[in-house]
């Protein structure tokens, strides 16, 4: 039953990915003009003469004069073979440009997700079980501040505190000596020592909202008859709460994988700028501004695929954790 459910879900994800890729491509082709018009405009601005014939030749070479659907098919055909095309701006294959940044983005997002869960789950449970206690009020207040503070502002404050009071270097994900060094254990250690600041910054608001969600959900479950049943069985309060109501109230936590993931990656753009993180956000923004369509397209496509995978993972986990879902 469970395997059947997972199989069906995975199969459904495939047509969905194609639909998403079509939309992604439509989006990046949507702005008027193409990379060459932007390119020409930049050249004209700096006083260079634009050779129309050369532009047309380029346009033909890149296939910009083809109808939309042909362009899409060429592109997606390439993507399926692992070729994301050439970045016009960087004059390099897109693949080379994005992998490391994508990997760092995903690492950062995963680390943030873990942090969010690790903090939100116990606090949420505590707040629900000790409703209206001093601790509950304390976390509620912190939570609202966390929700209401924009990430970039929080980043600035944290950077200020870290630099002025602790004198530590907080920008980027690596110290300068490891910046361009090949991957090694020492570099991973360096990454770990840097990653916590962006993790806290990015995770705060998600943590705050998850605490609220967990608290509200658990409060709904805490006085259900099955809890009384378990209590009458002689279970200890702690095991009782963890085994029954928490297990049922945890569903929205799992669902967050689906939406938190793309949100973390795209929402991290401003923070990434402020902290000058070598993640995908800044590069993507630049690509979009320059209408560097294959580079931007690759980012958008990967982000969409990540959210589909995120949804898939959360759906499967939900089915594992809640049998009612897989039987429906």
């Amino acid at each position: 039953m469970l395997l059947f459910y997972i199989g069906r879900r995975v199969l459904w994800a495939i047509p969905f990915m194609f639909a998403v890729s079509l939309i992604a491509f439509a989006l990046i082709s949507a702005p008027p003009g193409d990379y060459l018009t932007t390119f020409a405009a930049t050249l004209a601005q700096s006083g260079d003469v634009v050779d129309e014939a050369r532009l047309d030749a380029l346009r033909e070479r890149y296939g910009f004069d083809q109808p939309f659907i042909v362009q899409y098919l060429r592109w997606i055909g390439g993507v399926l073979q692992g070729d994301f095309g050439i970045s016009f701006e960087w004059q390099q294959p897109v693949g080379q440009l994005i992998w490391e940044r994508m990997a760092l983005s995903v690492t950062l997002a995963l680390a943030t997700l873990m942090f969010t869960w690790a903090v939100a789950l116990p606090i949420g449970i505590y707040s629900a079980v000790r409703k209206y206690s001093i601790g509950d009020y304390f976390f509620t207040t912190i939570g609202f501040i966390g929700l209401a503070t924009p990430n970039f502002l929080f980043a600035l404050v944290l950077m200020y505190v870290a630099v002025v009071h602790f004198g530590s270097d907080v920008s980027g994900l690596f110290s300068s000596e490891y910046q361009d060094a090949p991957w090694s254990l020492a570099k991973v250690g360096d990454l770990l020592s840097h990653i916590w600041i962006p993790v806290i910054i990015l995770g705060t608001s998600a943590t705050a909202s998850l605490v609220r969600i967990m608290r509200a959900n658990l409060l709904d479950e805490l006085y259900r008859p099955y809890v009384t049943t378990a209590r009458a069985k002689g279970l200890s309060e702690f095991r009782l709460i963890m085994k029954y109501p928490v297990r049922i109230a945890i569903n929205p936590f799992i669902s967050t994988i689906g939406w938190a993931f793309p949100q973390l990656i795209s929402g991290a753009v401003i923070t990434a700028f402020v902290l000058s993180l070598p993640t995908s956000g800044p590069l993507m923004l630049q690509a979009l501004l320059a209408q560097d369509m294959y580079l931007a397209g690759a980012f958008i496509l990967l982000l969409c695929c990540l959210s589909i995978v995120g949804m898939l993972v959360s759906d499967i986990l939900l089915a594992v954790i809640d049998p009612r879902i897989r039987f429906r």
């Binding site: 006085y223 008859p225 099955y226 069985k233 279970l235 954790i321 049998p323």
Partner: protein, 584 residues
Amino acid sequence: MDGETMTSEWNTPVLELKNLTTEFVTKRGAFRAVDDVSLELHAGKTLCVVGESGSGKSVMSRSILQIVDPPGRVAGGQALLHRHRTARAGAGEETVDLLKLNPKSRAIRSLRGRDVAMIFQEPMSSLSPVHRIGDQVGEAIRLHEPVSKKDARERTFELLRKVEIPNPGKAIDQFPFEFSGGMRQRAMIAMALACNPTVLIADEPTTALDVTIQAEILDLIRSIQDDSDMAVLFITHDMGVVAEIADEIAVMRFGKVVETGDVYDIFERPQHYYTQRLLNSVRELDHPSERRLAMRKERPVGAPCLVSDNVRKVFGGSKSWFGTEVEGLVAVNDAELELRSGENLGIVGESGSGKTTLGRCLQRVHDVTAGRILYTDSSGLERDLAPLTENQLEQPWRDIRTVFQDPFSSLNPRMTIGQIIAEPLVVEGKLTGPQIRERVYELLELVGLPVSAYMRYPHAFSGGQRQRVSIARAIAPNPRIIIADEATSALDVSLRTQILDLLLDLQERLDLSFILISHDIAVIRYFCDRIAVMYRGRIVETGDTETVCNTPQHEYTQSLLSAVPVADPRARGQKQRVRYREAI
């Protein structure tokens, strides 16, 4: 179990409640839900605690194990568990006061589920939906006894077999939602029995179940009790169930025990007036209403006014993407039924039998899949309601009205009683504002509510009063037919006859015909001239109520009637129960 078995153990209770008091602390002060209750439970005996809703019986039972949800708390008294008088007896005398123990302490936890186990009312929600049956039952064993997972599983299997769950090997790995209500309650019982408790507290364990399943669960509890000498504290509001299983009875009202005694004493010589009233209203219900019989003599039943001609209702049947036929659920299967003018027709059946769906089809709130609904209006014109559109149904909808089951959720809490009753009149648009107000006053008086109710909100009224408001709303546009869907099921017994009498009263004054949909044979017997028995979407038997009740023809009707508990302890065990198995 009568006087003969009153041996020495009779005077040696295994669980004694002394002056138990439980309070609910609110901002407006403490409210005593259980007030100075003293009871005794004896090994192998069943003590039934009866009372109407709000009498504190359920809170009392939870106080024993100190599992009352906040803001409730045990304020005083003792609950003495005499462990030395049970099978678990050690060498010396051992008496534990359960109320002295900290509700979160290990000491009380080790007694919960082992010495004293509980079963609850809602088999649907009392089991965790995401844990397997075997896990939930086995947990009770593993909590109290040092057994391996494998042994616990084996014992769980045995327990499931003992409570007669078919195919326990499969059931052990199933989830509660794959079970029917009766099966879930069996699983609950298995869980309670896991450690052979000395005392079993059953809090309305059969109230949410159909009568045939109720009868089986009661049999099960009784047979287990015979085997194990367990003391049972059985909480119920149903005097029929009490007569069926009780050895002793305690009657509760407003948190206090007003009368206790032997089952025969209470049923035959009730002392307290409240007990007398409770018994009277039960006994009254089991017979045809005198009032109705008198009324029928004066005004005989007329010609059919609402006829269901082969009505069929299928839910959810459709063609799927690939052209394969998805089979729908046949809720009503070719129902043939007629309601005559000035008559009360009862539709009886268990949950899921399609009786409510049939009622909604007759009113044409639901579309029907096939068949005709022939309605004869006041001018004698017969029309088929089945193909009509919403606009064409305006007049029939004024003529055929519904009173719903739940008086708490069928009234909008943000509207005043006046607005609620006036709504159908406002929609009709025939009367002016002052005229509507006049009419609402008139209706309030008709249903026996004070005029002052006009400006008040539903929450200020009790269940019975709210049901009167529902009735007033139903009769506001001068209807001809009222469909009362379980209109008395949510009410306490003493209120049921009052509401039914009100309906009879209105019938006399306003010339109404009724369809009463109910699972409760007693209510139908009191109120209805004719009865239709539904089983799985089919009407299996129709006829004069008394004839059907006394000499049921269809096997299903026989099994249904034989399962209804009789409120007379002397009749216990005399009735042969018929089990109905549908021939496929």
